[in-house]
């Protein structure tokens, strides 16, 4: 097991390096003045220009620059956001918890939702259920998440006035205790709902396919021959075994959700990493853009690693090296 973890970690490490190098190369490829490329479209005072040139060794050969950049990033130095007058890492660390909050709540709804729908539609013998499922799965797939967000805002926030349209709530809140929680929850409700519907339907599709696959396995026949009831078979032999693929995919998806649900955060002006990314793109704050991408790649790789380990714990065939 320990060997398995180490092996996976060793596989992840070069991936991170590759991404950092690729990102720096992209920055390097931006046509025009390299200092401007790093700083964005702002007039750069000469003293600052010199500092940047020195810091990123812009007058040295490309490989020196790359090496210099990689070591800086690995030490947590993503550079300085001239636009925000703050270090990029600080910006990222401020935004990340909000993204994690949204993603966690969204997943906490999406996973049980997806599993339930998947098991029901996967085990059903009713043609009607099947038809309803096929149609709604297709429609859910076709709706872009951000448009779903807009529809939710227009209906629940603007029409019914149940929820605020955007944002994360007042910076300094007067409410306390339970009221505070409720206040936060009202802001979180719509983005989390959009997130959960979108991802939940995707999970349902995966779960359904997996359930159908499990039902065709021989051990289901064995379970039937033991005289188990349908619900016993589903809860003991179908549920866990069909959840394995979902665990993997949900885990990977959580990784990419940590990198910011860019579109949803934009719809709801949810000030997480995704919105930081979009704002920085608009302001051409390239160091921040690259910083967010590297950070999210890191989050994805880390999550993938954790998922692999978790999966191994769930599946004895991997755990015991079979």
């Amino acid at each position: 097991m320990l060997r398995f973890i180490l092996q996976r970690a060793l596989y992840a490490l070069p991936l991170i390096l590759v991404i950092i190098v690729v990102m720096f190369t992209l920055l390097h490829l931006i046509p025009g003045d390299p200092v401007q490329a790093l700083v964005g479209d702002y007039p750069v005072p000469p003293a600052y220009r010199q500092a940047i040139e020195e810091k990123y060794r812009l007058n040295d050969p490309f490989f020196v620059q790359v090496w210099n950049y990689v070591t800086a990033v690995l030490q947590g130095d993503f550079g300085y956001s001239y636009q925000n007058q703050r270090p990029v890492l600080g910006l990222i660390l401020e935004r990340a918890p909000r993204t994690i909050l949204l993603a966690s709540v969204g997943f906490a709804i999406a996973i049980p939702l997806g599993m339930t729908i998947g098991v029901i539609t996967g085990t059903t013998r009713s043609a009607t259920t099947d038809k309803v499922w096929t149609t709604s799965a297709l429609v859910a797939y076709a709706i872009p998440a951000f448009w779903l967000g807009q529809l939710l805002v227009m209906f629940f926030a603007l029409r019914l006035g149940w929820f605020p349209t955007q944002g994360i709530g007042p910076l300094v809140s007067r409410a306390h205790g339970f009221d505070w929680l409720l206040e936060r929850a009202r802001y979180l409700a719509l983005p989390a709902l959009a997130f959960a519907i979108h991802e939940g339907m995707r999970f349902a599709r995966i779960m359904r396919a997996s359930v159908i696959d499990t039902l065709s396995q021989g051990y289901i026949i064995t379970a039937r021959s033991k005289g188990l009831t349908r619900s016993q078979i589903i809860s003991r032999h179908v549920l866990r075994n069909s959840s394995l693929p979902l665990v993997t995919i949900a885990g990977y998806a959580f990784g990419s959700a940590l990198s910011g649900a860019v579109l949803l955060e934009t719809v709801f002006t949810w000030p997480g990493l995704g919105l930081l990314m979009v704002d920085s793109i608009r302001l051409r704050d390239n160091l921040t853009v690259v910083g967010v991408v590297i950070f999210s790649a890191f989050a994805v790789i880390l999550m993938n690693l954790l998922v692999d380990i978790f999966y191994a714990l769930l599946d004895p065939r991997i755990r015991t090296g079979g």
């Binding site: 021989g218 051990y219 026949i221 064995t222 021959s225 033991k226 188990l228």
Partner: protein, 281 residues
């Protein structure tokens, strides 16, 4: 309605009596007549062989009789299948479960790995067969004795293993232990040794034969190996393309095959065994 009919079908002494069974599948736009009008019976404590090439419908026959049909679209399922005078095909799901839990019939399969849940330990899977709410701790005594009966020397280690940690022969023994859990009167064995090494084949067959004798349990063995039939079975059915072409005592079949197809099977198996004999010399 059932009582007079069952007497008509034949001897009430039969454990299983099948009359004119038809199982047709819809595969894409074709209809496959897997079983096409088969009569078949098994007496208590008898060992019956069903032989035939793959695709002759022998597996489908026992799957239909035990109501463990594969996941195909069934176009037609008709005929009369009686287990101790009760119509199996018309049984409700609940009655069927009841029958499986109470000295009815069990089944083992060709590929034991696929028929064991990969994520559960062996002990738990056997305990589950003992009672649906089976608990590994409280049933551990009975799990152990079942495993011993199935031929394991160290039942405790086996009970704690996962299926993938066992060899093919051991997995088939685990399947046997599961099948024995409810003390069935009839065991269907669907090509139980085809996937195993030849030395292991013999051991598993010996175990089956011992259990058949010790427990007075009827056994139906599906195989394409006539040697197995000659060794173990009292009677044999020969199937070809969904129909029974010959039924005979297994000794008679070898000495005086009536149907040309049976004759060919016997001839083939003679070739095979003489070849095998030459190998061992």
């Amino acid at each position: 309605m059932t009582i007079p009919q069952s007497q008509q079908i034949g001897n009430v002494k039969h454990l299983v009596a099948v009359k004119n069974l038809k199982v047709h599948f819809q595969v894409t736009d074709r209809i496959v007549r897997a079983v096409d009008g088969v009569d078949f019976h098994v007496n208590p404590a008898e060992c019956v062989g069903i032989v035939g090439e793959s695709g002759s419908g022998k597996s489908t026959l026992v799957r239909a009789v035990s109501r463990l049909m594969p996941n195909l679209r069934v176009k037609e399922l008709s005929g009369d299948v009686q287990f101790e005078g009760r119509d199996v095909l018309k049984m409700s799901e609940g009655d069927l479960r009841e029958l499986r839990r109470s000295r009815g019939f069990s089944m083992i399969f060709q590929d034991p790995l696929g028929y064991l849940n990969p994520t559960h330990r062996v002990g738990r899977q056997i305990a589950e067969a003992l009672s649906p709410h089976g608990n590994v701790q409280s049933d551990s005594q009975r799990v152990q004795s079942l495993l011993e009966e199935a031929g394991f020397q160290e039942p405790n280690n086996v009970a704690r293993s996962f299926p993938h940690e066992l060899s093919g022969g051991m997995r088939q023994r685990v399947m046997i232990a599961i099948a024995l859990a409810r003390d069935p009167k009839l065991l269907f064995a669907d090509e139980p040794t085809t996937a195993l090494d030849s030395t292991v084949q013999l051991q598993v067959l010996q175990t089956l034969y011992r259990l058949h004798k010790e427990r007075n349990m009827a056994v139906v063995i599906i195989t394409h190996d006539l040697g197995v039939v000659a060794e173990l079975c009292d009677r044999v059915y020969v199937m070809q393309t969904g129909k029974v072409v010959e039924t005979a005592d297994s000794v008679d079949l070898f000495e005086r095959p009536k149907h040309t197809y049976s004759a060919r099977l016997v001839e083939l198996s003679a070739h095979r065994s003489s070849f095998r004999g030459a190998q061992y010399e």
